[in-house]
């Protein structure tokens, strides 16, 4: 019944046996205790579960753990390096891009996808890039500012998103 998967998560290799129906988000949360990826809906709409699979933003509630066998997964827990917030995380803090924090991991991962493809997005581009993510707290105003902040910081420091 179960399938064996081997996945790199936040740079660390994990080999596990999973039920084929196991969704990636539950695998992360239950088996690996990476509870930063959240479940906010059952229709693949809210984006709270967004992670990067091989560098691309993916809704982990709509991905089977079995599908990411051999892939490189980055969750929100994998962004900060040596105790320093990632520029996107910093941006959310600096510009008050979060309130309850529940949507935040997904927002940050969606922002990472955007900034990899478009290092200098306009406000309209940012708003479009967040189409797959709900926030009920912030009205998005400061999330836009947070991503702009991060874009500037990445530019100034000449850093890659990942």
């Amino acid at each position: 019944m179960s399938v064996k998967i081997s996945v790199s998560i936040n740079g660390k290799k994990y080999t596990s046996e999973v039920e084929p129906r196991q969704l990636l988000v539950y695998h992360l949360r239950e088996a690996l205790a990476l509870t930063g990826s959240h479940v906010g809906c059952d229709t693949s709409s809210c984006g709270a579960c967004t992670v990067l699979v091989d560098g691309q933003a993916v809704k982990s509630c709509t991905t089977l753990a079995a599908q990411v066998d051999g892939c490189n997964v980055i969750t929100v827990e994998g962004l900060a390096k040596n105790g320093n917030l990632h520029p996107i995380q910093e941006g959310f803090k600096e510009e008050h891009g979060l309130q309850c924090g529940f949507c935040t991991p997904g927002m940050i991962m969606a922002a990472a996808d955007l900034l990899q493809n478009n290092p200098d997005p306009s406000e309209t581009e940012i708003r479009h890039a967040l189409e797959g993510n709900f926030c009920r707290c912030t009205g998005y105003h400061n999330i836009v500012r947070s991503i702009q902040w991060a874009a500037n910081k990445l530019k100034e420091t000449n850093a890659a998103v990942l």
């Binding site: 019944m1 399938v3 039920e19 084929p20 129906r21 969704l23 539950y26 059952d42 229709t43 693949s44 709409s45 984006g47 967004t50 691309q56 933003a57 993916v58 809704k59 509630c61 709509t62 991905t63 089977l64 079995a66 599908q67 066998d69 969606a110 996808d113 955007l114 890039a129 189409e131 797959g132 993510n133």
Partner: protein, 284 residues
């Protein structure tokens, strides 16, 4: 939301996928991007015994010129298509439509093959492929066949796909020089699927619309070519009046969907508006 259990197999090649699909007594389904299938599994609307994952079959993911057509491998993602310079150069409505599907996460993994196999009446690809006059290449253990898009889409979530058959390629003919295409979409505000999606391909020669193809998504229980609109414009001068008159013919004689966000009369009205908007972009 947890799906009922199933077996999972990942295929490395089309042949392997076809063998894996051909299991006696097991209801096996193809898994591509999973962005229609997995939501349905979670709601237990669909309970297959096995999934055959084709997403990583290298031979199915490409966008390339092949003679007078552009061949799109069926596991090409919406994002692959949105970013394709080749498509943008020859038939812009494909990248345009791809960019209007779902959201970035959906576009990163959802595939064109999965979308057309699913044949959601509100999905974007079906109408676009009709207007593109595309062909769909299918393969089964018995061999390969090619259907016109027109013959592939049969109705409400219904296609010509047979059990054990997979979509391998979508072939889009390269339009004659000077042909323009567009996809205009009016979204359902919650799901952002199409309430009305209008794909239009028009060639204007010497100010006259020499070729017109118009197709709709979302309006009826399946995508359809709107010959009334097309005929009303073919051979006519590309003027605002002629476009409006042709658009006014939209969605005649089809059974129009009605739901919470758009009752029949309003949907029909939108079909007219979106036909006009699409035609104005390509012929206006």
């Amino acid at each position: 939301m947890i799906p009922a259990n199933f077996e999972y197999h990942r295929a490395g090649s089309v042949d392997e996928a076809l063998s894996l699909l051909d299991q006696p007594d097991v209801y096996a389904k193809v898994l591509s991007g999973g962005h229609s299938l997995i939501p349905a599994l979670k709601l237990r609307l669909n309970q297959p015994g096995a999934l055959v994952d084709i997403a990583r079959i290298a031979e199915l993911r490409y966008i390339r010129q092949d003679g007078n057509s552009i061949a799109i491998g069926s596991t090409s993602t919406h994002k692959d298509i949105a970013n394709s310079a080749l498509l943008a150069q020859h038939i812009a409505m494909l990248p345009e439509a791809a960019g209007l599907i779902g959201d970035p996460q959906v576009r990163n993994v959802g595939t064109i093959g999965g979308s057309i196999a699913h044949a959601d009446p509100a999905a974007d690809w079906p109408g676009v492929l009709l207007a593109a006059d595309a062909e769909i290449v299918l393969r089964s253990k018995a061999g390969s066949r090619t259907l016109a898009a027109q013959d592939f889409f049969l109705g409400f979530y219904s296609t010509a796909l047979q059990e054990g058959e997979i979509v391998t390629e979508i072939r889009v003919p390269i339009p004659a020089a000077g042909t323009k295409s567009t996809y205009q979409k009016f979204m359902q505000p919650a799901s952002r699927f199409a309430i009305v999606g209008c794909a239009a391909v028009v060639q204007v020669s010497d100010g006259t619309c020499s070729m017109v193809r118009v197709a709709f998504n979302g309006v009826a229980d399946a995508c359809f070519r709107d010959v009334n609109v097309e005929n009303a414009l073919i051979g006519k001068a590309a003027t605002a009046e002629n476009i409006a008159a042709a658009a006014a013919q939209a969605a005649q004689g089809v059974s129009i969907l009605s739901d919470h966000y758009a009752a029949e009369d309003y949907r029909k009205h939108l079909a007219v508006v979106y036909a006009k908007r699409a035609l104005t972009v390509v012929a206006g």
